[in-house]
Symmetry: D4
Subunit: 208 residues, 8 copies
């Protein structure tokens, strides 16, 4: 009756970043742009921090959809990069699926723009092929709340696990002792409230 706990494992996870393109981003209105930008970059930073195989893909990037945001391109210079010639569902692109398979990972962490299409379509396809799919809901954006909620409902009912970048980072890391400074830096760079806690803490302890 219920889904068993599928837990993210940093040795078995890959990240798929789908269509975070400069033009398409202007369509995202279900989340504040400063916050959304931060979430996408946080996801990108955690992918790199945990050394997860990462795949980039875009849709028609020479047209109005615009180029991939430069920060993502710069962050993963050696990652598979598949500019799709036309397929809307990235999973319909053979090269993309081949790249996913080449990672050898069973768990797919997906984010993209827009949620109900560029994220939901490959997420549903991947589940149909037996992958465990984790959608990073706060690094995925779309037109409005109605669209987001409908997309979440469709994905969740198909078995997608809805997470956010912070939950993904914590579930991958498991234990602070694996690297306190690294995880702390990731949080400090992307959670202003946490940065403030660290600032106050370090000043107070330095005073001793």
């Amino acid at each position: 009756m219920t889904t068993p706990y599928k837990r993210l494992d940093k040795n078995d996870a890959a990240v798929l970043l789908v269509d975070h393109q400069a033009g398409l981003l202007s369509l995202v209105r279900d989340i504040d742009p400063d916050k959304f930008r931060n979430n996408v970059l946080a996801l990108s930073d955690l992918a790199k921090y945990f050394n997860l195989p990462t795949i980039l893909t875009t849709s028609f990037e020479t047209g109005p959809n615009g180029p991939l945001v430069p920060e993502l391109k710069a962050q993963f210079p050696d990652a598979p990069y598949i500019p799709r010639p036309g397929q809307i569902n990235a999973w319909d692109n053979e090269e993309f699926v081949k790249a996913v398979k080449a990672t050898g990972k069973k768990q797919l962490i997906i984010a993209g723009v827009v949620t109900e299409v560029c994220v939901a379509f490959p997420a549903l396809s991947a589940i149909a092929e037996g992958y465990d799919v984790f959608v990073v809901s706060d690094a995925s954006g779309t037109f409005d709340e109605i669209t987001r909620n409908a997309a979440w409902e469709r994905m969740a009912r198909a078995g997608v696990q809805l997470m956010t970048w912070f939950g993904v980072a914590c579930e991958l890391h498991r234990d602070w002792r694996n690297d306190i400074e690294g995880l702390g830096a990731l949080f400090s760079n992307h959670i202003p409230d946490y940065r403030n806690l660290m600032t106050s803490y370090s000043v107070l302890t330095a005073q001793k």
Copy 2:
């Protein structure tokens, strides 16, 4: 435990537009009227663009519920048009069900007013008879968010897939290369942000 991915197929889908009547539309308050009007017309345009068999039906259109909005009537002059003499659930009307069966399609894309009645009732009935049902949630409207959420929950739990017009268009189209201009025009006419991207793009590339 989970629903498998049922993917829209333009060769196996029909559209049912239920009770978008001038009077009933005044009941819709869970979505802004400018936006709702745009969504309904976008769905109508995509039905025509993909050449999907479309069925129109109304409830008591000679009474306070008012006539079908003229744009829909004009868009589908040859579509089956079933003014129901009294049945609240369109599926209780034999002529309507006959028209649905006559399409020979297995996938039903449904939108209407109000969501928890005119949409939910035939959606639940159609599922009970083995159809795959996709409700276009942003082209369906009702009294308020409580009502919408309750209706979504009831439908989703029965197996309805909740989508929006943009997701429907993308899942039907599959690949931009099938027709770039046609899909682009559909988006430009109904997504102001996308229209702006196209405007900027065309001016810049024309300058070259």
Copy 3:
């Protein structure tokens, strides 16, 4: 994987009104009081209109929870009325369950205050005993949206169908031709927008 369509049937449905008491109503803050009052009275009116067996119950009505709102008491002078001496879950009160069983109905339409307790507890108990349960979500109220959403989730996952008074009325009535004036009056009395449609319509048609 999904719940089959259980459709309300006016010959097989009873209404349970749980703890709509003058004191407890001050706890309801997830819905505007004017709107909530209207919804509760609309549910009461439809119960009477469809002649559904109706059961009233209260919790500690001689204490701070206060008396049942007088309109409900007046509307159902001959209905079973069970002032519970202490049981929080009405289903723990034998007299209440006996009254429910005495109706001989299989479908229970439940509303009350507060949603996650006075509604959810008997709803979950009734399902466990094999009843079909329909909660009238907009005639049930509670502290805030977090509480409401958690209660809905718990109930829906247990098989409760979430509805609103308007959907219940429409599903029970099935066909306008069963009684146009009666249903029209019910809607006119409880949906200002519908009343306005009827006003305009009747003036215009009277002018002919």
Copy 4:
């Protein structure tokens, strides 16, 4: 202590449309894009309907700000059109001010993107030079509600009258008898609820 009623007069009013450019529009997030687009086009239509002298201006339209939206350009082919080479406040552009003065009008109706800059700056400058300024608040957009509210406060305190396109149309028209069909068409094209009223009305009266 209070501002006297300055009433719009169609013989003494001009319209200034400031920086409704395809790129800048992606910055507007204090109002839904479907609704905003409708409001801007409604203002444009009323300017033409009332035959008000209209002035178009843009900021850096060959750069990222993008071109003026084509609909406005098409609507006013003979209007003064001032692509500003750099001045952020349109009033700092001599040609613009000259065009305003050339209209010979005392009342300026201003809308633009973004509210606190492209609208507020010339509005404040025009007031300082003795004009009566009416800002069309729902055809002007900006980043978020905080920004909008601050801009409104600053403008209102300086004497700007805050209006919306519908109020402007009504105050200019004064009496329906001046042209029932024309004003009705304007409302029908830009207010879905009004269009529905007209649809129901015309069908019912045609039936007589």
Copy 5:
């Protein structure tokens, strides 16, 4: 620098109800319809309770705007009733102004639909002629919050006092001892929370 306290006086106040018409009410979307209906009827009841001269007016009631809501017509059978042949600002109608002057009152309590036009225009005109104007903001409705806020700002800056029906009733009544039952009944009929307080109170004190 500030406006002195102009206090409502039941011997010097008249009520103007402007364009509460069945069709126009479908345009009101800045306030829930159940609540709005209650507020308008509450204002109507207080006008009658305090025996204030009341004037009714409508705009084009034989067209799509629809008839005055019947409850208001029924409540004030002998009140001046001015169906305006075309003037949008009621103050432009000589008969209306004459009726206002005939009341001999200096304080005008105004409510209507829509706020920025049917309310704001006569309110601004009346102030210009020296009346003290009190707008009943919660018995006046319009398209959305942007429109309402702009209208409030324009009116308040011109000297209009923004009130709500409850504040008007309290300021007119001054002292409960003038009539406890009458005011209590008014509140009980239009404030569900107050009705509940009275229900609990009366039951508890009756038990003594």
Copy 6:
């Protein structure tokens, strides 16, 4: 054109608490009850902390409005306590005005329930008699945001300064060095975030 800075002075200020009664509090729906309760108690605590003369008054406390909340009664056992026999505007009660005058203070800090009546009426009356009035807006509550905003507008335009309990405390205290522990305790008891800062700080500095 603008109001000069009138600054609260602990030697010239008195506090008026108007109608915080157990029954009337159920009418307050423009602020969450946990938060509102905290704000009222914070205001009460600061009144005592700064030793400000405080006056309590109630309206019909033996009827449905209910008794003054016991915490306030307990906090100010020796304060003037004026249960008004009927006057809605406390300023119409001679005993109340006499008590205000007896404080010899020029600055009146007012809070109460409901904002547009029990607060606004005496605030406007006090200003008319030359007092400086500071309304504690977050310790005053009413039916909804429309009512609150209208009341704020009316009061502010008459010269009332709108503040919140925290601002009042800070403006009265002027300098932390006057008493660090006392003010810190006040904040810790009523601002959870500040309490947390103090907890972390004290643990960290204790560790040294």
Copy 7:
């Protein structure tokens, strides 16, 4: 297809309070701080009232996350207290799991900060080991609504029952007659509206 009703039983339930630390609390922004503080303390009070075995745990409390809030420490001086040296999921800490097992209870009531990590991780782990898990959603907090909703969806789909502290208290108590005063005091201390009801009631009945 649906989850059977698992009902809380005070003889079979334990409470797990996870990471309510002074620093981490500054991350909670999906619920007002006054309200959240009240909810956490209400949960703590009910745990004590029902004498439920309670386990406290913290994450890195000597770093920026800060110490456990003192009220919880004081409330449960003899409870197992497990400051985790690094494990993010409390269930990864053997001592914690041992403490849970030592309670001998099958039903786990969990709350903590932040919802999608400190609550969701052990909740999912506990379910995987066969426990019945009840998450107290209003005593758990996190960054924003997107994060909360995603966490709820993930937990609910895995079988977690979402509740609130009030529902937990009522389901544990079962019958008011078990102890009217005790439960009344719990509600009075944490529900201002209920406290007001009790105040009015006790004054009125004392007058008899």
Copy 8:
């Protein structure tokens, strides 16, 4: 009756940053933390870009309020930095006022935490001494919207001009031709939507 247009002049403006401290920032809940952080840093960047004299001050930075956020300290290493020993209103600190006067500027641009105290108090004091004050409302934060709105009302009525960082930058810059790249970089770094426009633009024009 109205305030004349006081326009920011980069040769006559200074910036005051008041109490942006790591601890106090946890009190800010009227604006999302990612967005607020961005706004504060944007203001800091524009102060540096326009070379405006900038003054930093803090309140009790060695206590729970915490240290100034390091980015501000680093940005203005040579700016006057006044850690106030106790004065809540920075204007009560002689050293601070001396630093302000030493700038020789007449226009003060103020931002800080929390709005109604650390910003409003010195803003009101500065106006009383004849300065023109511009509050950067989106780089100032406080507890909630009620508090913010009350603070805005109090400040605006005293003559403060409410702006946002973007408006300040535009009004100071006056003409893009003064430095296109510099202003573009400022916008690109702090407005994700503008950054996207620049990305798309530069890619498209580079392709030529």
